[in-house]
Symmetry: C2
Amino acid sequence: MMNVRGRSLQKTPSSGLSMVAQLFGITAIVLMLVWLLHYGKGFDLNSNDPTRIFNLHPLLMFCGFIFMAGEAMMVYRTVKVGRPALKLIHMTFQLIALGLGVVGIYAAFKFHKEIHLSHMTSLHAWIGIATYGLFLLQFLFGLPMVVKSRPDGEISLPWHVCFGRMLFYMAICTAISGLMQKQVVLKLKMCPENSLINFTAAAILLFGIAVELSISLPRFV
Amino acid sequence: MMNVRGRSLQKTPSSGLSMVAQLFGITAIVLMLVWLLHYGKGFDLNSNDPTRIFNLHPLLMFCGFIFMAGEAMMVYRTVKVGRPALKLIHMTFQLIALGLGVVGIYAAFKFHKEIHLSHMTSLHAWIGIATYGLFLLQFLFGLPMVVKSRPDGEISLPWHVCFGRMLFYMAICTAISGLMQKQVVLKLKMCPENSLINFTAAAILLFGIAVELSISLPRFV
């Protein structure tokens, strides 16, 4: 099994790092579910309770958008099939991420409307919407690479990878800022819910770092 | 001028990216100064006004700690002197970053004490203190590399670089979460100060991305 630069994947530490990333990602999902189901009131897009509408936002943005995008980025390290199939899996995962992400963003807008809050004021919203917009562009510009043959793809591939890593960086920053915002809005201080949000944020950050290192480590080490 | 893998720096896009990073970094510093001096009440560690004590925290943590650390990381791309001198400059910049950082953290703790707030509750505080602690360890483990000859350094250098990139990632996330926290605490909505904080956060994020790409791009492109 070789990666694009012809290195053997078995000889790099990136496969192990992908496993570590999965572990942090799943930990973050579990912690977030405990937070939203135990301390929150669950989630429902058509609820009369604005909190249940809002709760879909962190759920879909991390467990949907960011986790799926991370999995899509690591697919070249984790799944051992031929390159054309890998490209298709990568694209499908990113498409699912985009789909879940747009529902997650809609949930936030619907929540703002229900409680008469202005849209797009916080820095979380600014960075988030910029990330989603650029991610959509990255997806569209990446589409031709799915069908193109290897020598053609090689030219734009490094830029696609670097731009993707940059967007993933932005997505993690957005997630952390969103949890921070919610923590202050909920006026949480020294209580179990506060620590739960802190641990969720730590798991998300570590997921981001592990995904990033699993992509970049073979180039450095 | 060659980097550690023997690539010519002139042939990589990283020198240009370092310039872009400087631009974003200086923009962030200017925006932050406008925020703290025009909308805030300036800064003074020994003031009777807790706000003036607090204001030293974002100033020193970004303009001191993060900006200096970024400059230290990029020194191998931006300064054209021999490798032993580069190592010394890198170490000195990181030492300044650590020094300014510890005063910045002290300012936050002093502010909390003044207004009787509990320490270390928010996720900003958790991620921030973890970043600073690991940064200190990274500095101590990096010290022998300043005096060691090239072949010795080569073994641990890639790990030093990767760990440094990871910590810088964490530092940027911490900065964004800190600004987010302040924005909610100040209850800012649609006002110039709110947009100013958003633009500052955007400039910090772009500084982080540009520094990261200037380090990693030559390995990818």
